[in-house]
Symmetry: D4
């Protein structure tokens, strides 16, 4: 773990049976393992290869954690994940599940849109009561939402561009560029890089949690 990035299994491009085998090996070694970018066949193989209570699924079942009852670690960090639309949810779930495996409590606020500004302000007020330590905001097409959210809160906001849209600036390009050009306090990760966004948000939240827990003394 020298680079500090969580190990996970990237299912995309791998044989479904191999996934089950790798997952079994990993679970017996560490108790839990996250598997990302599952297709239909991977899903079926996991359902055949494991008992239902050994599996935790993401919202659209494009990710899963396989475990032997070992719970995820708990650091006390809190990460919020917000999406502009429903098309952004799979990428957002990647961020959420990684953050969870890295020990954070996660708060998912999906499909707040950009249109209903008043609804958004309301959601942000409710969110701030839950005191997140960091926030990932996923958005495709023109990628406005992270800019707006960062202007409404005080905690670090990470922009996560999603590969939606067609024509010029499609597949997340406009979203990435407009986040990089944003006038708000914002850092970004690559298009569809939910894994990195979740890891980075969890690293922030865990640093904050440690401070809250007095682990870092600074006399």
């Amino acid at each position: 773990h020298r680079t500090g990035i969580m190990e996970a299994i990237l299912a995309e491009g791998k044989d479904p049976d191999d996934i089950v085998e790798i997952a079994k090996a990993q679970v017996s070694a560490t108790g839990r393992v996250l598997i990302t970018r599952l297709g239909k066949d991977h899903r079926a193989a996991l359902e055949a290869g494991f008992d239902p209570e050994e599996l935790e699924w993401s919202l659209h079942r494009t990710l899963a954690v396989v475990h032997d009852g070992t719970p995820a670690p708990r650091t006390g960090g809190v990460v919020a994940i917000i999406t502009a639309g429903t098309a952004d949810i799979d990428v957002a779930e990647e961020a959420r599940m990684v953050a969870n495996e890295m020990g954070c409590e996660t708060i998912a606020i999906y499909d707040v849109g950009v249109a209903g500004f008043h609804r958004l302000v309301g959601e942000m007020l409710k969110l701030q009561e839950k005191k997140p330590d960091s926030i990932v905001v996923a958005a495709g097409r023109e990628g406005t939402l992270p800019t707006v959210v960062s202007g409404l809160v005080d905690v670090p906001v990470i922009g996560l561009p999603v590969s939606t849209g067609y024509g010029a600036g499609a597949r997340g390009e406009a979203a990435l560029l407009s986040m990089l050009q944003s006038c708000s306090v914002l850092s970004v990760v690559n298009i569809d890089a939910g894994f990195v966004a979740g890891s980075f948000a969890a690293r922030i939240a865990n640093t904050v949690a440690k401070a809250r827990n007095g682990d870092v003394d600074r006399e």
Copy 2:
């Protein structure tokens, strides 16, 4: 004028003395002429070559109308021009002065920012009382403002990307792409194309004004 685009003098790259000469010829032919993209030397030459009352200047004196007292035509059309920041004003003034020469009353609302959403909503409420027929919204960097404005009003909104910013997506590229990817009802013109934006907005406003004036009968 078969393409329906207004004639104007582009000062950029031309000799200051030539500008004065061309302007004189044009004024004696048509009474008025718009000159765009003026540098310091062009400005000085115009001030030396014409009486103050023969000149109408844009806000930062990067455009001028030279005239012999002939007023601009009045169609009854109303065009609003909004900018996100102060860096967008010169390009916005190009749109405003073209629309004015094409016969429209113009309303300039500059530097409303994107941060102060409540201020923006207030400005838009005031604007709607003035019943503009079309709105040009100039914005650089991430170019969010036209999207937001189009969600708040009912009249046609034209996005005008401005060549500000540095790094990836700089010089108006992110702004143009995010306007093209916008989820709102929006059409766009090229980066810094204040002239086209103003002409197009005026064409809409003039079409509306004609209808208002009953020039178009449709029994």
Copy 3:
């Protein structure tokens, strides 16, 4: 509807049965719903799920309106849609059906080519008699047609680039860039963005229609 953009169902990437279900829910709520980017399977599911008289189809059946007899609203606005070739028709139909749902009468002039200039002039003369309030011009490859049309008429023209062609500038890129660089009075939407073009054209037409109907008083 705060952003003022019409709600429609994007079929692309969705399950045919889900489409039928969503459409049924929407129709019972609002009487009518537009569905875009239909594939073969979506088409079959709609034909199985609804009576023929509940369905209005686009020219190549890539869009459909499902309704319970409720007619589309009528504002009095008039939108024309022109295409350069036959390959541009599906994107043009998107613009046409959106404009229709937004209350406008629509006039489709498809496949006028760029070659036969005399035929084009003739078509434009006939079109002007029908007094459209705005015109969408769809064109792929080098995207010349909107420039030419805007030079022949007085109403606002919206360029709609279409993703045809191969090699450098393919998939609508040359068309988009040449519309952005056009010397005519032209605003543009993104490549294949028939939905936005139709919405924007309808917004213009509805603004004009309101003026024509005296809804906007300006004493």
Copy 4:
């Protein structure tokens, strides 16, 4: 001359005095030499270094031929050069002067615009009476003119994109791409490559002239 491209002196980036010296050497060797891309200082140096009758200038004096009275060769080939606007003239003159030095009679039709289609048709009718063997059409911004010309004539048309315009597709990019995507019979050269366009047009014209003169027998 193995590549068959004419030798000429590229002034850009060279010392004015060196230009005079190189030109003198070349003239005493071959009687004539073409110098391209002259700046103000190059111009002054040529005027100081040669008698007026030793110099032939292009329209805006950005090219010159220096000679000792030796006339340019005459092959009988005829090349026409057309420009859309005045900004395209310097690049067009490069094509014209190269074609002249390569032995062709040249016909310059500058600034025909794209707007006035009827004027263009008239010009093309007049041009066809002069029976050009090939035509170079220079155009910037959206680069429409070569497509239109090629649809009106029967001889080979070469598109020459010019580096005008700003924003997306600027500096000739849109012009080049739209010529490459053109639906007409058209070949192109690089942006601002008047030298290549003129050479290529002259090669065509000289091939035709040879055939006309019976030099190529094919029994």
Copy 5:
């Protein structure tokens, strides 16, 4: 035929049965019709729908001419088509068959490589004896061959980039750019645009042939 481009049927994306039907209609109208970009199914449909003697095939059967015995016109023009490799042949055949339908005799020299310079010089010497009026040179990857050929012959050479290669500059991009940057006398068409290259080469050859035949008198 106002644009002067040959009519042909583009099979790509069309139904095989429709192709047969369109071809039948066209043949009974004009005697012959060219069909381009045939897939396996189109090929089978043509073989089922026509007698063998009604069909002329390209080298790899990706194009076909359907005819009722009417021969192609003969103008006396001569067009040569050269390819660097075997991967360039299908695109080259497009050029060759168009030129043939436009009345030209065609000479195909395929797969000369760039390696064997001496073999190339030999082929060019043999070619010059056949006195082609224009030459199309198709090349992918780095696209060197047209530059080399143009340096060895006196007739107009058209560079035809082909979409081969992977990595940076792949799919014909490096080939197109290096032809545009070439130091030889060269004009180019778009990537894979064999149709345009053949039409343009035929237009040159037909212009030369007319001169040879004395059709153009210039006293």
Copy 6:
């Protein structure tokens, strides 16, 4: 301050005298003001307009804080800024001074190179003793350093690409892309966006400091 971004004066493109005037106004309002991207003339004007003890300079005097004795706020947050080379220092100083004005103690470790891995490991060990809450790593050309640093520490690392280098991937493009593609836990800001990097790092550090100080209670 709704977007939470610090106000500062961007000197680039402004008149030196105006800078002094704006700075004076700001200082009398808030006690301190940061000025970024100073040129030679701006520097001279500041030196003439203020007493030396009213000015705090960055390392190369491309930024300055003007103040009336009011100290910067102190939050207890700690931000480290690391650069790969000396060419990255000006951009890094932007990050450092913003973080300082936002209340953080800053630790600058400049020019650690990428070559001397052992030296880097040593520097990181020393750095971790100082317990930074977040780290900005500036790097140009191939931009490797942030990836390496993030693999050696546990706190959040922000990659800051710098516009150095020539050729393909120049001006920070390769650095930005390789940070976005990094296999480490890393978020990034735009090229040369030291201001955003510093603001974001300070927001993290201030969130951590608040937790350390017990300001956030979460029972």
Copy 7:
């Protein structure tokens, strides 16, 4: 063999049966032939068409050498091939098998990662004992490894970017650009161009081996 590049059969896009036939012809002519980019069907055809002892496979069986017992030539050159991850192996195997066919002993060090710097240093120390004459380093995503390796050894290092990754800079683009911008002594080949990398590395190694063997005398 005038260009000095090894002949091999590219299976991609070819019929499996044709591959067997071409391979048989080649083997009977030269004793051995390398086949690259094999798919499943090609693999099956080779296994059906040849005896197991006639086949040498690459690690993942995406390449094969077919032979009649003729051994590969031996020059004494030594080429090492290193990969950052497992996804880079197929491209690396292309380099390794070409180098082997060109007469070199090859040393494969796969999946050393970039994280474990100490493991990497250890591997490089072991490698240097084997005295490679040149080293190919394959890496995807941000492509850091070749830069690091070149800083640790004295022999020529060739960077081989691999088309992995998603988002901005994906498919090897960031890897290629960061290798081109590298501060180390490094030359590069195109993305996925294992064949060229192996050929180039073998050419170096063979030049060194010749010198070692005293074939090059230089008195």
Copy 8:
């Protein structure tokens, strides 16, 4: 020197007096120092600050070595540097002087063109008699020369793209891409990266020289 790249002073962007001072310090430390990318003022400062015999200049005096009589090391390696045109010489000289400082004998063959193939073959025959260990080939515009040279010799050839040309593919882009797409055995460095090309070529040559001198024993 962990990365194995030679230290040199990059003059570009540095103060002329600073250059002299840094050079003096370096010379007294190591006896010699290479300074690259000199402008006019740097040149004058060096001439004022050092005796003529302390300076070795490149062909156009854009590089210099300052020394105290200490000769460059001699390894016995031999590097050849070839350019296509005269515009490529400054970049080639960078490669040549670095290779010289790294201990190699250098052979410069400048301006061989691409046109005169026979002259090129002649030059290559003469070159091979001098038995270079590696060859750098600099070329701009379409960058053909390295491909051709690599096909004529047996030693490693490094392509060095040069930033010449205008239009599409300008500033070395077409040259870089066509070298990356080359069908020959070729590795490349970045555009204008003479420093890297020379270092890499010298590393090859020094590896060969060591083998020749028996320094590497391999029993």
